[in-house]
Amino acid sequence: MKFDSLKPITALLLSGLILTGCESMDTQDENADVDVPEQGAADAGEAGSDSGAETYGAPDEPEVGAAELAAQNAKEAAMKEQAALREMRTFYFDFDQSSIKVEARASLAAHAEFLATNPASKILLEGHCDERGTKEYNIALGERRAKSISKFLVVNGVSRSQIEVISYGEERPANAAHNESAWTQNRRVYIEYK
């Protein structure tokens, strides 16, 4: 509920700061963020602007039309923004970690808003790991990563029944190479809309 009331502010912040590109401080404490969603949302707003724009290609800045249409346009822009944020479907993790990175929060918040407003839609969270470490531990670690995302979404208004979790451990690498860059791409959770 609290989150809903903050939505306009978030949107404003997003559009306002979208190009400023500010490096966020890395709190690393996922649980604390989840427990205090306001701050999490705020963080996501700040950080998402940067990483989202760079990694996934930020959509073109919506042109501001006539003054009378400004409000409507702003709303449309916000929606477009949201949709663009939802384009981000893969979320990355550090080695042997399952805490959500700060830059993922904006996008996750957008996914959460969409799912909350569309209770019929369902998602599958696929947890993945890089090839390092043991297979079965990685299966468990992949599940924990997916559940970490799941928790974030639930806290942000998504119903548990909308979310399914599966862990593939290190079985389905995004990049089959055996190097650091491949491993970075393989430590991930993928959101699949059904």
């Binding site: 297979k135 079965e136 531990y137 599940e143 924990r144 079985e171 055996h178």
Partner: protein, 430 residues
């Protein structure tokens, strides 16, 4: 005076006993025991489908305990005892010579193999047998001879007639792959696929009677634990709870499996009674608990837990369920397996950024890293406790490798293509 005399003689006697030179030897040769496996004489009149003596030589060589002499270095190829020039073999530094003959009976359609193991230094025959087999059984027969020779000389039962199970992964197209579960001879030959799926398959584990394999398959889209009878290929689903169904391991009496389930929230370890389907939860922690393995006496399990923040190896008595941390060296120690005597553990250990197989002595907590290959995983102990098979990255794909428990012998198993992973060494099979 008489007493003095007696004392004197006693003293002299003691002196003469002490005077005997004593030499203590606590070190042995760095090389393995030299043995000459002379090519068996083919008296069958036609080509033999398997080179029996070569299979034996390869077996013994791979054990790491023997160094089989290359055929090209042999000065003669005796077929029977009276053809052996002992001086030659002694000059070649050989301790034992194995000779044999192969005959074929058109009537029984069977091969008859006679062999003799001879001690070069005493010139005595220490082993000899006549065995028969059809042409298809020749490989098995060769392994049987290897076992007999190995046990005669080392006093330890050979594992050449045992099997291994493993999983291969083949990338069919960019987005399509195939997992296959194989059972083969311990040398990797004679492989039979017993199950395949486009979805992941993991964690094969042999029942202690050598009849069944338990494993995890995603072929329904969700992970589930299955048991499959090896010979009949009959498959039975054991668990398919919501969340993880992972890391099954047979109890020593084959009555239950220990496994990892996340049906109660996160990865926890349970025992599953195969007769009653009853579950018994062993761990209760928000951290990951998985990769459990039974102690030889069935009273304890060892497992991986990251309850300390990093994956480490823990031990737990299945009755009192109190976890005890065992590994403290390194940030990553996982997937423990007990040694056959229950006195050591073998597990995956991260050091200097790489993952290797390590051993820890349960009494002294002394750790020894056994491998130096990269991304080493899934250690599985041979039933005689002498060798560890594991998977490792070689080039761009995963292959199976073997290292002796003392870190001595090392070799790779041949692989056709794709990834070969998660080896599981069978128990002794009859």
């Amino acid at each position: 005076m008489k007493l003095k005399f007696i004392f004197l003689s006693l003293f002299l006697f003691v002196q003469s006993v002490q005077a005997e030179l004593y030499i203590e030897i606590r070190e042995g040769s760095d090389s393995a025991l030299p043995i000459a496996i002379v090519p068996f004489a083919n008296k069958s009149g036609s080509a033999v489908p398997y080179d029996v003596s070569r299979i034996i030589a390869n077996d013994l060589q791979r054990s790491g305990d023997f160094d089989a002499l290359s055929t090209s270095k042999m000065l003669s190829l005796p077929e029977q005892y009276d053809q052996i020039h002992f001086r030659d073999w002694r000059l070649l530094g050989q301790k034992y010579v194995l000779i044999g003959q192969l005959k074929y009976s058109a009537y029984t359609k069977k091969y008859e193999i006679s062999y003799e193991l001879i001690d070069v230094l005493t010139q005595q025959r220490v082993l000899g047998e006549v065995l028969s087999s059809g042409s298809k059984g020749l490989r098995k027969l060769a392994h049987k001879i290897s076992d007999a020779v190995y046990e005669e000389i080392t006093g330890v039962r050979g594992v050449f007639s045992t099997k291994i199970a493993y999983i291969t992964l083949k990338q069919l197209t960019k987005n399509k792959q195939e997992y296959r579960l194989f059972v083969s001879d311990a040398d990797g030959q004679n492989a039979h696929m017993i199950f395949k799926s486009h979805e992941p398959m993991l964690s094969p584990s042999w029942s202690n009677d050598g009849q069944h394999l338990a494993y995890v398959s995603f072929h329904t889209g969700r992970p589930a634990i299955y048991i499959q009878h090896v010979k009949s290929s009959h498959q039975r689903k054991v668990t398919s709870f919501k969340g993880l169904n992972s890391a099954p391991m047979w109890s020593p009496d084959d009555a239950s499996l220990v496994m990892t389930l996340s049906k109660d929230g996160n990865a926890e370890i349970y025992t599953y009674d195969l007769a009653t389907n009853a579950l018994n939860r062993l761990t209760n922690h928000y951290g990951i608990d998985t990769e459990a393995s039974w102690s030889p006496n069935g009273k304890e399990v060892v497992f991986t837990s990251d309850r300390s923040g990093r994956p480490q190896v823990y031990r737990m008595n299945i009755k009192d369920k109190v976890p005890e941390r065992l590994t403290f060296v390194g940030k990553y120690n996982a997937r423990p397996r007990f040694s056959k005597d229950g006195e050591s553990l073998y597990y995956v250990h991260q050091s200097n950024g790489g993952f290797h197989i390590a051993a820890i002595d349960m009494k002294t907590s002394e750790q020894q890293v056994l491998t130096s290959t990269s991304l080493d995983e899934s250690p599985s102990l041979s039933p005689n406790g002498r060798m560890i098979m594991y998977s490792t990255l070689r080039g761009n794909s995963s292959v199976l490798a073997v290292v002796s428990v003392d870190g001595g012998a090392k070799y790779f198993l041949p692989s056709d293509s794709g990834d070969v992973r998660e080896p599981a060494w069978s128990p002794f099979l009859n």
